[in-house]
Symmetry: D2
Subunit: 395 residues, 4 copies
């Protein structure tokens, strides 16, 4: 119960949290709230939960937020919360993609830490502005690439880092869904509407919604960032305005190669995010739908099943593990790990110290890389599936 135990230090003072977006009927807002609550590090005390003021107020009431802190706009919220002695310390941004950057900028300027859903922004330019802004303000910025919160993903990353696979040769990522097999956006689905609308989702459909998750996961575990990519984006469903299938070849520094496939029309898949990494000395395989397992093959030896909490799982997995092996943890626990990692960073900031080096979450640099990935893929595909360079990372 490492995560909950870590609360000891400062439990008397939970982190005051606000939320932008996430009103009634929103999916991801509720997920963020559970994630924030699971380890009891946060109190949700303010919100601009909807762009519709009446809906915003009603949603706030549902959630027990004081009416005086139920705002009609994120700008008002940033300004007024910054002015309160008991104002929020952090904000969760769970709006459609196109609002991520303006909202984040407003809160960073107000001196408030930011926890933002992915992708970071609508464009690379916006992402770069956020990077610059964060440098000025020094606030914490966390991007909820939640799959990096799974204990066995942490385990995989540690094994790669520690050389269990030797030199990495191949990184294969896939994220397959089928919920957009038919034109759901024309059938009244709010979720489908904004995700297939370039004005709200950005230039990428499938690639922005789930392709970035797959790319981020590959980078997180392998420790490699791509130098160049060659992408094919396809829109299979007639009338759809953004891609619903993405296939990408990647070239990593040092000679490793990547292959990424994301689809929202691959019938028979729900949230089929999978990662395979192969090196000179071993191979790893992980599936999000059964995330407590990690398959590891040392070259020339039998495949081994490493389980969350079980034999073979190391400290990186253990510190984000709550229950014993064989009792599955899932999506919400992985998501909560991100929130609890950020909480540790915020508590350290409160105390004027650096966070424990083990604290791990995806940040603006990762968000910028994700936007560069999306833009390069869209360009590569538009140019006829040609190799397209990715900028060197800010690290």
């Amino acid at each position: 119960m490492t995560i909950e135990a870590s609360r000891d230090e400062a439990l008397a003072e939970p982190i005051r949290l606000g939320m932008v977006g996430g009103g009634r009927a929103a999916f991801i807002g509720a997920v963020h709230r559970i994630a924030a609550r699971l380890d009891d590090h946060y109190r949700l005390v303010a919100g601009a939960l909807s762009s519709d003021p009446a809906r915003a107020r009603a949603s706030a009431a549902d959630l027990g937020i004081d009416p005086s802190r139920a705002y009609g706009s994120f700008a008002e919220m940033a300004e007024r919360e910054a002015a309160r002695a008991d104002g929020i310390e952090a904000v969760s941004i769970v709006t459609p993609n196109h609002l991520h950057a303006p909202v984040a900028a407003a809160f960073l300027r107000a001196g408030i830490h930011v926890i933002c859903d992915k992708p970071l922004s609508a464009t690379v330019a916006e992402a770069e502005e956020l990077v610059a802004l964060q440098r000025q303000t020094g606030r914490i910025f966390a991007l909820t690439h939640n799959y990096t919160g799974y204990p066995m993903v942490r385990q995989a990353r540690a094994m790669v880092r520690d050389g269990a696979l030797g030199t990495i040769r191949l990184v294969q990522m896939e994220y397959l869904q089928d919920w957009l097999t038919e034109p759901l956006e024309s059938a009244g689905s709010k979720q489908a509407e904004w995700r297939t609308d370039p004005a709200r989702a950005g230039a990428g459909g499938c690639i922005g919604d789930i392709g970035t998750h797959a790319y981020n996961l590959g980078a997180f575990v392998s420790g490699l960032e791509a130098e160049a990519l060659l992408a094919r984006l396809t829109t299979f469903v007639p009338g759809r305005r953004l891609d619903d299938d993405v296939q990408v070849l990647l070239r990593y520094a040092g000679g490793a190669q990547g292959l990424l496939w994301a689809s929202q029309v691959a019938v028979g898949n729900e949230n089929g995010l999978k990662l395979r990494v192969h090196g000179t000395a071993g191979g790893l395989e992980w599936h999000q739908e059964n995330p407590n397992l990690l398959w590891f093959t040392p070259f020339g030896e039998p495949k081994r099943l490493i389980t969350r909490g079980g034999a073979g799982a190391g400290p990186e997995a253990a510190r984000v593990t709550r229950v014993p092996a064989g009792h599955p943890e899932g999506y919400l626990e992985g998501f909560a790990n991100i929130y609890s990692e950020v909480a540790a960073a915020i508590r350290a900031a409160r105390a004027g110290r650096l966070p424990d080096p083990a604290v791990t979450f995806q940040d603006l640099a990762d968000g910028l890389r994700g936007m560069q990935f999306i833009e390069a893929a869209v360009r590569s595909s538009g140019d006829g599936n040609v190799w397209t360079a990715l900028p060197a990372g800010p690290r």
Copy 2:
């Protein structure tokens, strides 16, 4: 997000919760707290968290409980909380088994609802006293047979009830672990110590700790209670004082037959709770370690995979489901479902009405059946593995 959405009705007033047991280093206490917190129905405001008063106070401080409500004994806690206007409405009991009954009795008498870990008590006699006491007090009593909170277990139960399997012929339950393969109780493990100590665990070791879970799961899904059993309890580890392996033949009313195997020395298993039910028209299979899947075979047709949140899952699963198909929920979510079901019952009681008929949790009747199962199994085994009747249930 059905479960969280159901909070709307009364969120302004969370349920005031106390806890007995569950201090520092306890495993199951932390699980109960997360379960209570996940859907935000409860506030933990009082505790008698350890039989060691200093430890009790320190644990309470960890959890943000006001020092004035950190009690040194459960009896004091029951008395003083009952006297407060803002006293707890419900108590969670997470002590070793032998204390379940006395603690529960104290709180029932104090007019406080009870949420109690399993098994219900140390003896059938104690269980029967609790049944009588509840009849007098009218308080809610929930037993946390948490596996009944998994959505696909609910789905399985609904399918059996609705006849998808025809007449049930066979119920096979197994719960396999290996953590007690060696004499851990002599090696300083607190968890192993009390679970293998008849004074604290009761007459059953493996059968009380996990065998009852398997039995309860079979009964919950099949809708059948056993009339008689024939059990073999074995202690494989030299020096161990309670059984570490259990094999039981069951005879159900109406002719169905059961087979139950629970073990704590089956090397290669973590929490291998599995259920198979076979009827004249179909068969079901469910595994706790990958709980979002339910395998269903209509006789003579291809096997089907029903997923939590996916096609084929009905309303019984949907109402305890938080996230979409393919995003796994796990042990804590299942456990939280029990807490949220109980919350619905408590809110109904507050309002002087009956809970929604869909609200489902295991109660004293189930707890009494569990104790009868344990006692009959111990007796059958002691008598040389002979058929031993189980009392007809109270329903």
Copy 3:
């Protein structure tokens, strides 16, 4: 390609084989013929393929058997083949169960090696007579418990023998089917008819047909024979004359315990033969339906997947392996391994030498144990599910 390679020694002279039973429309006869043919050790040159002479002749013609060696009765065949200079060296017996013993006796007396399907006979008494008869004649007698031919079953047996599991505590066997869920024997199925007819199948239905396979597999791998059993045989389908579900507790010498479940009415299962063995130091699991895999967990370490032909598989598996790892072998290959093992024994006998010690097949002793198992189980069940001793084995 060990098995085929071993043919070198004497390929110029294949073994002359006859068959009793296995005419048109019979299932298992064709399996035996493929098994005999796969490694090219045998030539089928004679047959009494049906008790109906016309059908026997037609079936022989189908198979290219010379009409002069297509016999109308097994007795005639034994007599006339024994008299030929080029008479058969071995006979395959693939009749319904009740004929196994008389046919086998006729050929043993005629000095011909016997390969017989299981169960060995209709009664223990018959089995004992065969044991005595073999002692007199010195002929080879192989019982086709074909599952012992799977390479990973050989691997499992070797690992148990070599101590990889420590002292064995638990042996769990199951063999689940669903093809007799409905009264197929009343619907014109020949296969169902004789298997549910006590006159042809013997005293056991499910227990004789598949329960013995499961029991034999457990004994083969664990190296343990049971001292006593307690069985429950059930007939679920109304009107059926033999059991269609069997549940057995077993007690092995030395303190290990066994649990066996076989069913022909477990909807959702095809040929679900599984074995789990747990010892003080490790655990094994094997599934017949995906037989190229063996799961091995050394206590306290990650589970390992040992594959046929892959890393971790030893010489016992290798010598009955034909193709590389990842190219699955199946039921027919496993069956053929038995035939090829017997061929090695027959070639050794031809040459007047002992077979290589690695040559392994189930024989009359195993067949007798199987019959004792069936009879004891039937008796235990008839007596109300009481412990019933099994005779000490002949070894």
Copy 4:
């Protein structure tokens, strides 16, 4: 037992078979021999089993081939067998790749049917010459793309053809191995030597050895041939002369898209050939390592498991199925299905009639497509991973 039953028609006269290549220590020759033998349609009566005459003779003796028909060269064999009244009717070619075309040409010219391992030839030009030659001679030419012999691959193809998936959108193929992770060709492995030698393997390494299998499987099941491809071939192992990893984007007529990944350095894989096909109405998934299963998801319904011999499997699977559901068939059975299909065609040719329309095997057109695939992929990769057209098929 459809396949064996089909032997009835002409069993009295098995097909006289010769073999080129496949001497001692060769892997694939033994596989072909077992495949030919399994259903008893062939007799191996002649061979040029090695380019080393002494080895050729010794290998022939091993296999019981008359010394007078153990040839030192394939040319001599073709000539002399063609001249015999009892000469071979068909030849199996199991040499390294570069000899396929010259050997095949010699036997076609001699009027002998050809069964040839894949890939068809070393170059497209050679393949085209064979196509022309077959037109002149009218002989049967079968290419042993053995994976098309698996019953569930036949089932998948039938389901696509019958519209169960709607319009195909996506075809994903992968074939992953790890046996060439290290430079085995420098360590004395004959198998690795010729497969990584351009002079013997042709221009493609991994792509020719296993990539073509994956491509062929995708085409066989989907019924689609690619119009263009974009490939990346990589040689990861230093010093290796051919590719050991291949990633290919495919564009099919009609708008479907393909993605193919084959690797010989993906640690943790043995023969991981997998196929996924997704259409507007459903999705399919098949894995060679557990080939008796086919996963089918009708859009919006639960996933279904169709098993070989079980419910849901249609006539296309049934006619190449030998044993009941739940008794696995494997690689050799699938391979034997190709041989038995060809036998049916040869028997029809003997009788001067057309084969049954159900008879299915890959032929020269498929072989030519495979060579075009290899050459286009090599060219695309050499040109910097650019789209490269594939010629329209000969059909």
